[in-house]
Symmetry: C2
Subunit: 159 residues, 2 copies
Amino acid sequence: MDSIGFQQHDHSHCIAEAIAAAEERCKAEKLQFTPARRRVLEILLEQHRAMGAYEILEILAAEGLGSQPPVVYRALDFLVGHGFVHRIERMNAYTACTHPGEDHVPAFLICRLCKAVAEAETVLDGGRLGKAAHETGFVIEKIVVEAEGLCPACAETAA
Amino acid sequence: MDSIGFQQHDHSHCIAEAIAAAEERCKAEKLQFTPARRRVLEILLEQHRAMGAYEILEILAAEGLGSQPPVVYRALDFLVGHGFVHRIERMNAYTACTHPGEDHVPAFLICRLCKAVAEAETVLDGGRLGKAAHETGFVIEKIVVEAEGLCPACAETAA
DNA sequence: ACATCACATGTTATGATATAACGTTCGAGG
DNA sequence: CCTCGAACGTTATATCATAACATGTGATGT
Ligand SMILES: [Zn+2]
Ligand SMILES: [Zn+2]
Ligand SMILES: [Zn+2]
Ligand SMILES: [Zn+2]
């Protein structure tokens, strides 16, 4: 079941493309795209869904890339820190960014039944939130938006 | 340090008012506003900040209201489920809703330095997120917005 | 070549958050 | 009364994340 976007699609090229882009960007910014980091990003791209850290770790362990939690958390810290991966707070899970490199406010649509996640595009909210923040003197540095509901498939089943 | 709203204020009346309102609503909706549930809400109102479940539990335990995690998690489930309290995903923490009863999309401003939290008002996003969801057939049931940044006090200190 | 330094990794242990499961209590409604 | 469901008490365990410290490794300057 492919989840992101809630649509079936062949994404073998997404993976190759995204990895190549990440590699290039790391080169440009002198970041070390080490085997563990690369493999974690690959796994998230392959699975194309939100995954828990320990779920990723199992795969790494099976491949001999490390079996202790810090291995995967370090890789995730790097990937999240540089915008290759997003953390989904509601789920304590991680998912590959669907448009890395672009400066964006990630917004997620999370199905409460099948746990599928889609990353939607949003604009930086110039509305009430920004206004409220400005009025109180709060400086917003980062916004996350997470919506819960039913994906098309589950909505149909439930109906 | 009072955090919500990032302003000092006397809120003894907020507490009494909020508790009375909760009591009334529970009566109207035949919900059981039990001692543990009431006390947890009171604690969150008194402290007027985001608190971890175990932090709340310590207070309950000191007062003889229970010492095991399920005690506080059950109370929080009830309070969150009925909108008296919000869970802040980024922090694994809980805070009393500042305008319970009203149907609203909570949005939080979270200071990354002092961890103060303000609940801002937002409107249900009729913008791109809603549009993107509608296009894919996703049914949004609930949205949370969490912004990280610097509160007025910390912004000043940092500057 | 060698020292040095920054960064990444290996490993052990522990901390922090949350829930499963099961038996008991207690009050509302028949 | 009796029954039922909701809340509660208790034990144990699951799940998520980080601290701390030792080790390796490659770039840089001398
Ligand atoms: Zn993204
Ligand atoms: Zn679904
Ligand atoms: Zn609220
Ligand atoms: Zn602050």
